[in-house]
């Protein structure tokens, strides 16, 4: 029995890794359709990754071991954080290994090393990208922690599974205004953390505006593929957090093939909806000026702060 649980836990993490390129493909396709373009198929990110994995790698002579280690660190820490977030079942993740606070720092680790890698090659763009990334993440991280604390206070635990279980048990009781604030805040943070449109444009390599792209400019071949895959998975990870913590309906509560299958269908539907929503937002907004980004994240932080305060002091509403 324990073996089956362990397998399901691994399977949950594998789902995120496998579906991540598909989610990106769906977003790109939807954006293309909304802009009256044909667009590549939704499976294009898989081919891109495969091609990059097959290509030869070029590494600058001036780089140190950090440059070579960063893709592995990024990918493995995203992989570990996938194990902490329940996707289709709340009984089978490896929750004894860590909670949501560990998750926040597992997501911060690759960012730190990515910034180092940007600096390591010594190119001007890399340094620019690193400094921008650090500026954004230093304002996004406290907001993320506040959002997760808000949900943790609702359930009385920082384990993602237990939070989801509490919300499923209490039903509509848990949907007080603070939850909505936390949701909006987490969505804004997702946009910033994953380099989506109002903060960073994922589609261009325009030198003046890029953030994430600037840091990984020196990478090629397998390393690039690993980093790209990790950042795709990160987006799907945030979507999973949004979908499963705020709308946990349909997630499997017992171990049976039918409920797991049902839960899988629900999961894909929810993620699909989030992808469509993101595509709509990305086509309808323009990129913010870099110095406006702290304002954007400040809004996210204040929303999260209000959400957390409304747990105890501010009794929002009549």
């Amino acid at each position: 029995m324990n073996k089956i649980n362990f397998m399901i836990a691994l399977f949950q993490a594998a789902i995120l890794l496998i579906l991540a390129p598909l989610a990106i493909g769906l977003i790109k396709k939807t954006k293309a359709l909304l802009q009256n373009r044909q667009g590549a198929t939704i499976f294009q990110p898989y081919w891109d990754l495969l091609k990059n994995f097959r290509k030869e790698e070029v590494i600058s002579e001036t780089t140190s071991w950090i440059f070579r280690a960063v893709p592995l660190i990024c990918f493995s820490s995203i992989l570990i954080s996938c194990l902490l977030v329940p996707t289709i079942s709340i009984n089978h993740s490896l929750k004894f290994t860590g909670d949501l606070i560990a998750l926040v720092y597992l997501l911060a680790l690759p960012r730190f090393f990515m910034a180092l890698a940007g600096l390591d090659a010594g190119s001007a763009f890399g340094g620019m990208g690193s400094s921008r990334e650090v500026m954004i993440s230093s304002t996004a991280e406290p907001a993320l922690i506040l959002v997760l604390f808000t949900m943790a206070v609702t359930a009385g635990t920082t384990q993602a599974e237990e939070i989801i279980r509490t919300i499923l048990q209490k039903g509509w009781m848990t949907y007080w205004p603070g939850t909505v604030l936390a949701f909006v805040s987490l969505f804004l943070i997702t946009l910033a953390e994953c380099g989506r449109l109002p903060v960073d444009n994922p589609a261009t390599h325009l030198e003046l505006t890029m953030i994430h792209e600037a840091m990984i400019l020196e990478y090629s071949g397998k390393s690039l593929a690993l980093i790209e895959w990790a950042s795709m998975t990160k987006l799907l990870l945030f979507f999973t957090l949004l979908a499963n913590i705020f709308f946990p309906w349909g997630i499997a509560q017992e171990t049976s093939l039918i409920s797991l299958g049902n839960s899988m269908i629900f999961f894909i539907l929810k993620i699909g909806l989030f992808c469509l929503l993101l595509a709509f937002i990305e086509t309808s907004t323009a990129k913010l000026r870099l110095f406006r980004v702290p304002d954007f994240l400040g809004t996210a932080f204040v929303l999260a702060l209000l959400a957390l305060l409304s747990q105890s002091i501010l009794k929002l509403g009549l």
């Binding site: 604030l181 204040v302 009794k315």
Partner: protein, 220 residues
């Protein structure tokens, strides 16, 4: 408590909380037209809250007032302010006295102050305490909007947020004032907004800007 009234209370809590959130939205948005939309949303939320409250407590005059409020403050006043914006052709507040993130944080501080103040003063009636602290928060946020911005349009919106706060105060402490008083207030407000719109026009014509800083200068 049966499920029907449970959902009703949930809806009342939700919509009145949205009014607070929209006040913070007005503190964070730069585009003046979006601010006007947010004000409209706030008034509609408050009107809907009052409507549901009137129905659930069987104070039908509150429901009638709520409908008038929704029409006047949610539709007529925003429509008129939109017209003014079309004429004035100034779209954004660029350099407020206090920067946007700091003004949001001060907003949170004001909310905390009013909630903790009201908590100490009104202890025996939880409904009035919650409602009055919401009202006080809205009033303070409206005042803060008025003093921290330079554009006349935002200052008008700040005044309107203060008025919304007063509406909540009346609603939560005494289930709104007598109908004739409330209706009189709403129509007075409409006239006031028209006059303020004219004033914005005049400021625009005289200084070709709706920046109220220009008004400090003496003009011979």
């Amino acid at each position: 408590m049966n499920t029907h009234s449970f959902y009703l209370t949930q809806a009342i809590t939700f919509f009145s909380a949205l009014s607070l959130v929209s006040a913070f939205g007005m503190l964070s948005l730069r585009t003046l037209r979006l601010c006007i939309r947010t004000y409209a949303a706030q008034s509609l939320c408050l009107g809907f809250t009052a409507f549901l409250l009137g129905l659930s407590l069987r104070h039908y005059h509150v429901a009638i007032i709520a409908m008038v409020v929704m029409i006047v403050k949610g539709l007529l006043i925003p429509w008129f302010l939109d017209k003014v914006m079309e004429e004035v052709r100034i779209k954004r507040e660029l350099d407020p006295f206090v920067s946007y993130p700091i003004s949001m944080f001060i907003g949170v501080g004001l909310a905390l102050v009013s909630y903790s103040l009201v908590d100490r003063v009104i202890m025996n009636d939880p409904f009035a305490a919650k409602g009055f602290s919401l009202a006080l928060t809205l009033i303070l946020l409206g005042l803060w909007l008025m003093v921290s911005r330079k554009k006349a349009m935002i200052q008008v919106l700040g005044l309107l947020v203060v008025e919304n706060g007063l509406f909540v105060a009346a609603l939560s402490t005494s289930f709104s004032m007598p109908m004739i008083v409330e209706l009189g207030l709403v129509f007075d407000l409409l006239i006031a907004v028209v006059i303020m719109g004219m004033l914005i026009f005049r400021i625009q014509n005289t200084f070709s800007s709706i920046n109220t800083e220009h008004l400090n200068r003496l003009k011979g």
